[in-house]
Amino acid sequence: MTAIIDYGVGNLFSLTCSFKAVGADCVVTGDPNVIRAAEKIVLPGVGAFEDAARKLRQSGLDRVVVEQANLGKPLLGVCLGMQLLFDESHEYGVHKGLGLIPGTVRPIADVIPSGLKIPHIGWNALNFPAGKQRCPIFADLNEGDCVYFVHSYYAAECGENTAATAEYGAPLTAAAWKGSVYGCQFHPEKSGDVGLKILKAFCSLGE
């Protein structure tokens, strides 16, 4: 079973529907015991980093997520949920993340040429780092497959944990991967068949 963590941030309807569409047995939950019993964990999130990080801590689920990730249970962060996986974010101040993947969340505006619109909204192509093992959740994808992005901040300094980038005036981190922890900046649940392939691959990890 896959546990989609409900910590009061955003709307989990589409995410749940997309997991169901790939045949996943999933549950939306804020119950630590259900999360501990699940085979896989999904950390969603929309909105501002500070607010989401605070809600996750207040719910106490931050500790459960870190504990389970450290046990090697597959964890997928989506959009803001992906940004929460990193050390810290510089969105309106400096805020601490879960520290599961080294890196810092910074404004896109820092790296892209002026004149490009922010947020980065729309379908953009995924590029996979050359000469590196393909991240398993992208096993069924082709270089250049498009996914749907909506974000104004991105994970910087991901180094070797960068699993995919998207070109928007600069190569922005589209996905990160460290051990059993995965993060997608884009919305797989809104990325058509390509997105569903990613979710299916995540659900099939370890099978």
């Binding site: 589409s14 980065h120 379908w123 498009c146 990325s191």
Partner: protein, 252 residues
């Protein structure tokens, strides 16, 4: 780079797609869910559901349909029509909408834009404007293009963006239904300096009109149309192949 988006718009009334749909091979062409699935499979980048129902029963049917579509179609869904309060945002977002487009509701109460943007983020709030040339001015019209508000469109769009609208749909009443191409002049004059994504609407009659749009105004992010897609006059798959051949980056 980010791709140009092709967006079919479905007008829904009492749970059915209205405004002529003519497809072979679709058993129920007036079913919004079937049509949404069809467009998604053809490569549509996003769908707009426009609720033109006036009754409470129609509203309830609309959200049922939205929910059913969101369970089966995994591309961004934008909902418009009858959005007057933050509760209206809430109602459609809970049923699977990703973005909500406001038009007359924002004209009546511009604070709605800021209120919704604070609650759901700028990216969720789309300002849709129906604009027509009147006395040498670009004028904003309300209530589906029926009422001249007297407002200047350039100022109005600027104001909406500064209040938190994350995307702009500019619908030219002058070219809407004429099928002679998008209103490039109006788009340039009204949205030329807008720093959020701009969606062109009104006037597309053939595939070449989309090429003209993206070649002439490379900062326009998307083209929206309804009947030419519904009637199969323009097939999205072929349109995208043609755009690609013309050097316009699209999602294949």
């Amino acid at each position: 780079m980010i791709t140009k988006r092709i967006i079919p718009c479905l007008d829904v009334k009492n749970g059915r797609v209205v405004k002529g749909v003519n497809f072979e091979g679709l058993s129920d062409v007036n079913s919004p869910v079937a049509l949404a699935e069809y467009y998604s499979s053809c490569g549509a980048d996003e769908l707009v559901f426009y609720d033109i129902t006036a009754s409470a029963e129609g509203r309830a049917l609309f959200t049922d349909i939205l929910r059913e579509t969101a369970q089966r179609v995994f591309i961004p869904l934008t909902v418009g029509g009858g959005i007057n309060t933050v509760d209206d945002f809430d109602r459609v977002l809970k049923c699977g909408a990703d973005k909500v487009s406001v038009n007359s509701g924002a004209i009546k109460n511009p604070a709605l834009i800021t209120e919704a943007a604070r609650k759901y983020g700028d990216q969720c709030v789309v300002i849709s404007a129906d604009v027509k040339r009147v006395d040498g001015q670009y004028r904003v019209f309300a209530r589906g293009g029926r009422d001249d508000t007297g407002m200047d469109a350039i100022e109005w769009i600027k104001k909406c963006v500064s209040m938190g609208a994350g995307e702009v749909v500019l619908n030219s009443i002058d070219t809407d239904g004429v099928k002679g191409g998008f209103d490039l002049e109006m788009l340039r004059d009204v949205c030329g300096s807008v720093n959020v994504p701009v969606i062109a609407s009104g006037g597309a009659g053939k595939s070449e009109d989309f090429i003209d749009l993206f070649k002439t105004l490379p900062w326009v992010d998307a083209g929206l149309a309804a009947s030419i897609f519904h009637f199969g006059e323009v097939e999205i798959k072929e349109l995208k192949t043609l755009l690609d051949k013309n050097g316009i980056i699209v999602r294949k």
